[in-house]
Symmetry: C2
Subunit: 251 residues, 2 copies
């Protein structure tokens, strides 16, 4: 048997939002690696070992999974959302590049998933309906001035923005700083959407404006979408508002 | 029964990449609206009517689906990929905003899907592993100078770029112009990935560089990913290369 590692996107966290291919790869695995809370989402299976690890040890987790795969076990690595969006796929590639030659012979199969911004956008309408960008606010692996430069560039060029990793205990001020910066670039009434634990039981969605947005509305499980000056909010009598960014853009 | 419209992301085009929730909504529909080639991907069902329409009539298609939903039919609108990414969700919202008051009482449920850039990224590694943006190269609904401004802003700020709608018979020169513009901003060896019909039988993926990228490699069914100066290509002896953008960024 050829060595193989399946890197699996679990989507936002509801079973009905995992693709059948990702589910089948997960079912076939003998060993499953991942961040503890993601592993907790998966029902235990007979004959399948679980290898939870902590947050912020992505490279060590990738190395452990590659080691197990190279030894011939059928291994899965799980990520929330899509593994390629601020998740485990890049860490696995990094580990392969820096690792032993044998790891370059492992068949690595990435299974895409519904990433947080797509799940959140679907819940409120079509806020990503025009050109958009995705920015991680974490400055663990990049300097904060680079994050600022990207926020300013995105606002100036009219991109809708999805913000990942907005806040954590170790990074309490970054989201507030981002709002402050963006308030100097975008109209006060620009729609801002907070989506916490989207598609899970404890989902909490809030639609507000850039002027009113409060960093305290976000936590580690939150993704944000910040509209442009074109983004619209349609009020409806008996339903939540629809938020969308028109396909048509002025010059 | 309350009026309802399900807006469904079919993903890249393979059944195993449609979420179970999207599939269930599709199965339950009495009438299915969509661009002809997307409807062709769905097996016909007894008791389900199909309402194909041409490309570039998104608003009329949305209006027709909303009209049918308001009349009490269980209606689905299908999109390739994710309906919220350069697809039908925004057109539906536009139609609701401009339409009769009764349309604001229709329960509109968006079902997210695997959008092209996620499917393509998964096939080659993790090129979207860092901050990224998605830009439609179509200038049907926005002026071309705005596209150019966004390309320059994205390259300058170090975003990986996913390019949608790169080329068509009516828009033959835009992708070449984009490459020319980006060659002035990014290193010649910046990785460029062409993904045509990703995850379908006629899939064709090519990994090249910005210097070598040829617009003739793209067609209407192609999505492109353009890396940054940090994006890496890992060669492997018996497998295709892995392309990824590291999570860590220099100042």
């Amino acid at each position: 048997m050829n060595a193989r590692l399946d890197v699996i996107g679990l989507g936002p966290g509801r079973e009905g939002l995992i693709t059948p291919e990702a589910q089948a790869a997960l079912d076939a695995a003998k060993a499953v690696f991942g961040y503890g809370p993601y592993l907790d989402r998966i029902p235990p299976r007979d004959g399948q070992t679980r290898h939870p690890s902590d947050n912020r040890v992505e490279l060590a987790r990738a190395e452990a999974a590659l080691t197990a795969a190279a030894e011939g076990s059928r291994v899965a690595m799980v990520s929330g959302g899509d593994p390629g969006v601020f998740a485990m796929a890049a860490a696995v590639c990094e580990a392969v590049e820096a690792g032993p030659e044998t790891w370059r012979r492992i068949d690595i199969v990435m299974h895409p998933g519904i990433t947080a911004m797509l799940a959140l956008a679907a819940r409120v309408g079509a806020p990503l309906g025009h050109d958009f960008c995705a920015i991680s606010l974490s400055d663990n692996l990049k300097p904060w001035p680079l994050v600022e430069r990207r926020l300013v560039a995105a606002a100036g060029a009219g991109f809708v923005m999805a913000l990942y990793n907005p806040i954590s205990r170790a990074r309490p001020w970054q989201l507030g700083a981002a709002f402050e910066l963006l308030r100097a670039q975008l109209p006060a009434e620009t729609p801002v959407i907070f989506g916490r634990a989207v598609a899970r039981e404890d989902e909490r969605i809030a639609i507000t404006t850039l002027a009113e947005a409060d960093p305290a509305q976000a936590d580690m499980a939150t993704c944000l979408i910040i509209g442009t000056s074109e983004t619209r909010v349609i009020t409806r009598p008996a339903l939540p508002p629809l938020v969308y960014t028109p396909r048509r853009a002025p010059a």
